[in-house]
Symmetry: C2
Subunit: 155 residues, 2 copies
DNA sequence: TTCGATGCAAAATGTTTGCAGCGAT
DNA sequence: ATCGCTGCAAACATTTTGCATCGAA
């Protein structure tokens, strides 16, 4: 069970296993691929634990980030967001986001094309890359089709 | 003169040419490659124009971003930052950042290796990329050398 | 029993906005 | 003379922190 692994991770760090921490883990684990804000996690958590505080959510996601259970991401909309981390280091390293300018949906995809770029950077300037973030902005298929239709209607 | 081009850009948009706007442009133009926060721009601006307000800085950088004179970037340290934009669309598209985890310095570099990835994404899922952000995290040469020395000292 | 974790409220932080007066056109 | 721009202060929104209490170990 995943929860047992998490409990051991907490114990190894000398942290306590609390209902709040287990609940937030569960909420995140149930929603792989989603990018939740603290407020969204708070709202979800209150459905089963109404007395939980927003500050606890912030403190708990920090713990989960420190344990590499979730990752903090930002789409520059003023909110920090959290998503379930990949299983291993490699899959996380190759996890990227494509954000649609029109509908705002975020599409995740995998790609290892940066490896070449990172090697070149190391050779050229001595910078050793340990992590990276790639955000692509553009238009998803649905929005592109919708925009073409709008265009057709006009002409 | 670059300033005249900027004045015309403002006029074309029906915006007024003010001392504050010219000053902020000048400050940014003098510092290519730097990533300044609003507060930093504010401090620089007050050196020659002490009565300027921080709100004006925020409003002015927004104007400059809209005119594509500068770009807004974020290194997730809680500050929005602004840097002089590349001359053309292509050079901006291939402008990336490598951020050192130890000294916090930001190194800019050019690279077009994402073009392949973006074409693959379009083919596979219909997502058309119009812009992208790449942030690499790691250790710069100086910090790597410093860290090796620290390590040597210990053993 | 101990000391970390929680909930609440207050504080902090970066950014935005309302408004009266100023200044470019 | 107009109407957009500015400076100031207040408002905002997200996140952090202080503190008394709670609860896991």
């Amino acid at each position: 069970m995943k929860q047992e692994i998490f409990k051991n991770m907490l114990r190894e760090k000398g942290l306590k296993v609390t209902n709040q921490r287990m609940l937030v883990l569960e909420l995140m684990a149930e929603r792989p691929g989603q990018h939740l804000t603290a407020e969204e996690i708070y709202d979800l958590a209150r459905q089963t634990y109404p007395e939980i505080g927003l500050a606890t959510i912030y403190r708990t996601v920090q713990v989960l980030v420190d344990l590499s259970v979730i990752d903090k991401v930002s789409f520059d909309d003023g909110f920090a967001r959290y998503e379930l981390g990949g299983v291993d280091r490699e899959s996380r390293h190759h996890h990227h986001h494509a954000i649609c300018n029109r509908c705002g949906n975020v599409f995740s995809f995998q790609g290892d094309l940066l490896d070449t770029l990172e090697q070149a950077l190391l050779d050229r300037s001595g910078f050793l890359v340990t992590d990276h973030e790639v955000k692509l902005h553009g238009y998803c298929r649905e929005c592109r089709e919708a925009m073409e239709e709008e265009q057709d209607g006009k002409s």
